[in-house]
Amino acid sequence: MFFFSLRTSAALFQRPFYGTETIEQMYNVGVGSLFLVILTGMFAGQGLAYAFAVELAELGAKNYLGRIMAIAVVRELGPLLAALMIAARVSSGITAELGAMKSSHQIDAMVAFGVDPRKKLIVPRIIALLVMVPVLTVVTDVLAILGGYIVGTLVAHLAPSIYWAAVKERLVFGNLFIGLLKPVVFSVVIALVSTYKGFTAEGGTKGVGRATTESVMISSITILVVNFFITRVVFATIKGWL
């Protein structure tokens, strides 16, 4: 996996660059996952806001709902939910596709015809994920905060201006930085795990199925672990900007 990642990283900067494949993958990752992250963001935001609103109302602090939502969503929930949803949908798809191509010797055929499968198959998927995971995370963030707004105004009877002012107050550099750094790192995790698992899948259909399951499992767990360490390290480093 280490050497695979090294060679793949080198391939990112080598020619030829497959533009059409990259755009196709960006469409697959971005447009294909859009509906999923819209639903996830909206309902997760509403659920979270509901739980917070009830508790904050009891404490007489419901005006802080926007602040809590902004911090929780932008720093943690948005990047994590978006990445886990994308890991489930895209990681499984990439591993299954590459695994099937390997077991049917399509990757060997590519090599036989002088095409480097790393550049043709892996690099476009990495670039697509690097671009689209942050975009989808922002969509998740927006929808989750919007879900919080709906619950805040309809359930907690909070004035819209108070909610938005509180949200705006916490959209500071530090939170936005963490919120955008995480999806970049998560996209690399998803891309490397899913392509590695696809390229090393063995044992026919059963092997491809196993590789696909492992791909989702490893991506998801790695995302959760990496998320903790990013929060821990970045929080300590840029505490003053949070």
Binding site: S104, Q106, D108, A109, M110, V111, A112, F113, G114, D116
Partner: protein, 256 residues
């Protein structure tokens, strides 16, 4: 042209080939016979440089393919056309895009020219281009897929050597006959050297002058049809035993 010199190869700890040596001259047609799992397909992968032996060497036109740089390997592979087991067509591309794969990847020919060459090649391998060029491989029969794969290998680089990995496995008798005739025609008309891997003795007899039998990872036999027929090697007799009737029949036809 191709030479395997004392090749030893293993997947992880599982030995596949032991001290395998043979060579193939320009224009020669060879069949590698052997039971399933004997390492026949591995030999083709070694020739193509997809795998490298742990010991020994694979020489293509005087150069070791495993010691070449990747760019040189690409040049050498241009001399070699490979038809993978079950065709290995790219299932997300149309038949036309499959046949013209090499042209689309490595040349800047206008689409009209690419399309013309793809149609010409499909015609050469006995397929109706108008009918199938826009179809996906999964919409074709097994025999048609194999012929598209042969067309793809030919159109790519105009190869001097063709490698066929189990070209008729899983095909009905009619499709098998069509594929074998195509291989025979290529050998005769274009003078390409060929290595066919198969465990079907009838197919082997139809397309080759020379036979190599791999048994338990070793070369158990290397010679002509007559030598194969007359061999008293127990490994040869053991392999041919299930095919005795068809072998005798093909043998009669061959000498009629």
């Amino acid at each position: 042209m191709i030479a395997l010199r004392s090749v030893h190869f293993a997947y992880a700890d599982r030995p596949i080939l032991r001290d395998v040596s043979f060579s193939l001259a320009e224009g020669e047609s060879m069949v590698i016979l052997g039971p399933s799992g004997s390492g026949k397909s591995t030999i083709l992968r070694l020739i193509l440089g997809l795998e490298c032996p742990q010991r020994g060497d694979v020489i293509i036109d005087g150069e070791s393919i495993c010691r070449m740089k990747e760019s040189r390997k690409i040049d050498v592979r241009k001399k070699i056309g490979m038809v993978f087991q079950a065709g290995a067509l790219f299932d997300s591309l149309t038949v036309g895009e499959n046949v013209a794969y090499y042209l689309l990847e490595h040349t800047r020919l206008p689409w009209d020219e690419v399309d013309r060459r793809a149609r010409e090649m499909l015609g050469f391998v006995g397929l109706d281009a108008d009918e199938i060029i826009d179809k996906l491989p999964e919409e074709l029969s097994g025999g048609m897929q194999r012929r598209v794969a042969i067309g793809r290998a030919l159109l790519s680089t105009n190869p001097r050597i063709m490698l066929y990995d189990e070209p008729t496995t899983g095909l009905d008798p009619r499709s098998t006959e069509q594929v074998l005739k195509l291989i025979q025609r290529l050998n005769a008309d274009k003078g390409t050297a060929s290595v066919v891997v198969t465990h079907e003795i009838a197919d082997a007899l139809a397309v080759a002058d020379r036979f190599v039998l791999i048994s338990a990872g070793e070369v158990a036999f290397d010679g002509t049809f007559e030598a194969l027929r007359d061999s008293a090697d127990p490994r040869v007799l053991d392999f041919l035993a299930p095919f005795r009737e068809s072998f005798a029949e093909v043998s009669r036809k061959r000498f009629m």
